[in-house]
């Protein structure tokens, strides 16, 4: 076994694994990625109307409603320009509140209702998911002071 041969083996197997990994990543990306959409995007963009998406925005004030079985909840997600009705079966995260940022994952059904499989929690009250902040900025409803607590006031 010469040095050159060994190097060739290593390079070859390296290329092979990298190639396989790239193939894996590409197929996984085309099948498994989830688009992020704001309520306005859902109205305007065709890509948001189908498949699995993440919907982010604020929980509309006074929109939270518990279903008869007590486990299904419905609420509206808004970017303060448009809003989308959402239903979800399960326990809402601790910090789920009306008027606060939320990210949900699921699909839009034929009635235009977003059926969420998952409602994402956050751990900190002051934290707004960046996607939600961007959605609000995009709809022109972002107010720095209203959304983040000013650290130095008490």
């Amino acid at each position: 076994m010469t040095r050159k041969r060994r190097r060739m083996y290593i390079v070859f197997s390296g290329m092979l694994t990298l190639g396989a990994a790239t193939a894996l990543i590409l197929t996984a990306f085309s099948d498994n990625i989830v688009l992020f959409c704001s309520p306005t995007d859902i109205q305007n963009k065709a890509t948001c109307a189908k498949a699995d998406i993440r919907l982010g925005g604020l929980v509309e004030e006074e929109s939270l409603d518990r279903g008869a079985d007590g486990v299904t909840v419905s609420f509206r997600v808004t970017d303060l320009t448009n809003s989308i009705p959402v239903t979800y079966k399960g326990i809402l995260p601790d910090l789920f509140r009306e008027g606060q940022g939320v990210v949900t994952e699921g699909t839009i059904n034929a009635q235009g209702v977003f059926v969420a499989r998952e409602v994402l929690a956050k751990h900190d009250e002051n934290y707004i998911p960046k996607e939600v902040a961007d959605a609000l900025k995009a709809s022109g409803n972002w107010h720095e002071d209203a959304q983040t607590k000013d650290a130095d006031t008490y």
Partner: protein
């Protein structure tokens, strides 16, 4: 007062790190002994100064000095003392300071125990370490000073995020940081070796224990974090492929590769350039991990309040550290001589494959974590979740686990694959039996789970066979075997334990992913709920009062076939100061499965949302991690690897014979 003392110590440390970055490095280049000698006392003093600053901050938290901004924002006088202290690193500024303390602590350890390192190498290592420290200190002092005062001082604080008021998370950051920062030593050694222009077995013998120590704490830190997520967040899962989790996982994967490639450098004087590169990349990933979490660049469910203002500073710091070291690598690496030869089927070959798979696995996690950022720049917003990782990560782990059982049985240089596989006949048999038994015992669940159990058993059996062969169990009288066992190097036991731990963790992951049962419903007092053969009788809710929270506590009596199992008392807590609710899950474990339950909101008519999980094998995940940590620690205690113990190789003595009599171990 003590805050000013801490501030002063930090500024002194900053100035000292400037000196330590430059003087020993120049001294080593010019062969000036006096300049070289600066490194050692300087590193020790630097550690002392950062400890002083950390002590000052801790004191401020303990006495609740709300005139300090960080104390005001993250503490409260009614908080239990334990959380007052852990609150020191429960915020951005304090955790950054802890990072620096650990960083300088590692530097001081090299200064203190590195007596028998060649003086120029030691000077350069400490210099590089000081450069990293300098960057962090500047970041801390100029963008996130923990000693900022507010005037007038408020009467009470805003309390620590309640989710952080928990023993599991209290000790998660220090462990994780010790792991991240531990890789800084490997990084400093790599950069110093590039400047020095030589890498040999003695160098590897030095790097390995540090890497191993970092790997152990990082393993423990990640395990602690996932355990916390499991019992504290009340959603019954333990890993979500969230960006914040991924950034701690990437250095772990890369560090694991480094750990294995350093063995080849030490034993066979081969793969040197690769190992240097791995050391640089591992620490770079640690840096990315530390900063990405804080920069607010990524959307994470685990993100605590972040401040994007610091983003630019962070980016510059990362660019200098990573770009600079990679540039140095590109320039200097070709000058390093290649080492011993080996055939593809050999121990070295196995370790190369391990490295290949681990680095590729790191890169797919990297793409999944940071790829969305790039796509966002191009205008599409996507998020990458569990399905992606299942699709790309598992196919890479399959060959890795398969080879993991075979690798340790291969001899160095060249091997006969057939002969080795025939020694694994028993493992193959066990694998088949385990798969058949799983398929028979478990109804339903995905087929892939049966295969996963097979792979785990293959690995477990392989690890055990390797160990029994080394001590010749059942082939020589038992007493002789026992003698062989005690004579076996501890690192050999360590490897067996670590590999076995991995197998056990895989079983745990498989069990919880494939055979979990979940039930969510509204329950009223007196209701009986049946989940996976267990009956839960809801007796009622009561209000309880904690030190800084109020809670609604449910009482559920669990029985199976009429036999009493346990009483579960999940809570829904409301922390008063931050007006923040948290879920306290109740868990009963018997080692084979967890009964897990959480209560949600009241429906207003006397009913409560309850969530019950039956999680088979889940405790094995952490049991496996603990075994890996024990294995690592065992290996670290090996005499040959002990920090400060390496014997100087002949080449070192010949080249660096400047006469400094090193303490021989």
């Amino acid at each position: 007062m003590s805050a000013e003392l801490g501030q002063f110590a930090l500024i002194l440390a900053l100035l000292l790190s400037v000196v330590q970055s430059a003087v020993p490095m120049i001294g080593a280049a010019r062969g000036n002994r006096a300049w070289i000698a600066v490194a050692q006392p300087s590193a020790l003093l630097l550690f002392g100064l950062t400890i002083l600053a950390f002590g000052a901050l801790t004191q401020a938290f303990m006495v609740s000095d709300f005139s300090l901004s960080v104390v005001y924002q993250n503490s409260h006088s009614a908080k239990p003392m334990l959380y007052k202290i852990t609150g020191v690193w429960g915020n951005h500024e304090g955790s950054m300071l802890l990072w620096i303390v650990i960083l300088t602590g590692f530097g001081a350890a090299v200064a203190a125990f590195g007596q028998n390192l060649p003086p120029t190498l030691r000077a350069r290592v400490l210099s590089v370490q000081a450069m990293v420290t300098l960057g962090f200190l500047a970041f801390l002092i100029f963008t996130s000073n923990p000693f900022d005062r507010i005037f007038p001082a408020p009467l009470d604080g805003r309390d620590l995020n309640p989710l952080l008021q928990d023993p599991g998370l209290a000790f998660h950051p220090p462990m994780l940081y010790a792991g991240y920062v531990g890789f800084s030593i490997a990084f400093s050694f790599a950069v110093a070796a590039l400047i020095e222009g030589k890498v040999d077995a003695a160098w590897a013998r030095w790097v390995r224990p540090w890497t191993l120590a970092a790997w152990i704490t990082l393993t423990a830190g990640i395990a602690l974090g996932s355990w916390w997520a499991y019992y504290e967040l009340g959603w019954g899962g333990w890993w979500f492929w969230d960006p914040v989790e991924n950034v701690s996982f990437m250095p772990w994967l890369m560090g694991t590769a480094l750990l294995h490639s350093a063995i080849v450098v030490e034993k066979r004087d081969s793969l040197k350039v690769w190992t240097i590169l791995l050391a640089i990349l591992t620490f770079s990933l640690s840096l990315i991990g530390t900063f990405v979490v804080r920069s607010g660049l990524l959307t994470s469910v685990h993100a605590f309040a972040v401040d994007p203002e610091r983003g630019l500073f962070i980016l510059v710091l990362l660019a200098i550290a990573i770009g600079g070291s990679l540039l140095l690598f590109a320039v200097r690496a070709p000058t390093l001589t290649a080492g011993g030869l080996f055939s593809p089927i050999s121990r070295e070959g196995g370790l190369v494959l391990n490295n290949l798979l681990l680095t590729v696995a790191t890169s797919v996690v990297f793409v999944g974590t940071l790829g969305p950022l790039l796509l966002e720049a191009a205008g599409t917003k996507i998020s990458v979740g569990t399905p992606y990782y299942n699709a790309v990560f598992i196919p890479l782990m399959v060959p890795l686990v398969a080879v993991m059982a075979v690798g340790p049985l291969l001899p160095w240089k060249r091997a006969e694959l057939g002969a080795v596989l025939s020694r694994l006949k028993f493992a193959g048999l066990m694998t088949i039996i385990a798969m058949l038994a799983t398929a028979y015992l478990v109804e339903g669940g995905p087929v892939i789970a049966v295969a996963a159990v097979g792979f785990a058993i293959w690995l477990l059996a392989g690890a055990i066979i390797e160990w029994t062969e080394r001590i010749k169990l059942f082939r020589v009288p038992f007493g002789d075997s026992f003698k062989r066992m005690t004579k076996l190097p501890r690192s050999a036991h360590g490897m067996t334990l670590a590999h076995a731990g991995m197998a056990i963790a895989i079983l745990g992951m498989t069990g919880s992913a494939a055979w979990k049962t979940e039930d969510i419903r509204i329950a009223r007092p007196g209701d009986n709920i049946e989940v996976a053969g267990y009956n839960y009788l809801f007796e009622g809710m009561r209000s309880i009062q904690g030190p800084n929270y109020q809670a609604e506590q449910g009482r559920f009596v669990v029985t199976r076939d009429g036999e009493f199992i346990t009483v579960l008392t999940p809570e829904k807590r409301l922390y008063m100061v931050q007006n923040m609710p948290t879920t306290e899950a109740a868990i009963h474990t018997n080692g084979l499965r967890d009964l897990y339950m959480a209560v949600g909101d009241s429906d207003g008519n006397g009913g409560w949302t309850v969530r019950i999980y039956h999680e088979p094998l889940v405790p094995w995940i952490w049991a496996g991690c603990i075994i890996m940590v024990i294995g690592g620690t065992f290996s670290l205690s090996d005499r040959r690897l002990r920090v400060g113990a390496p014997v100087r190789s002949k080449r070192w003595q010949a080249k660096s014979g400047s006469g400094q009599a090193g303490a021989r171990a």
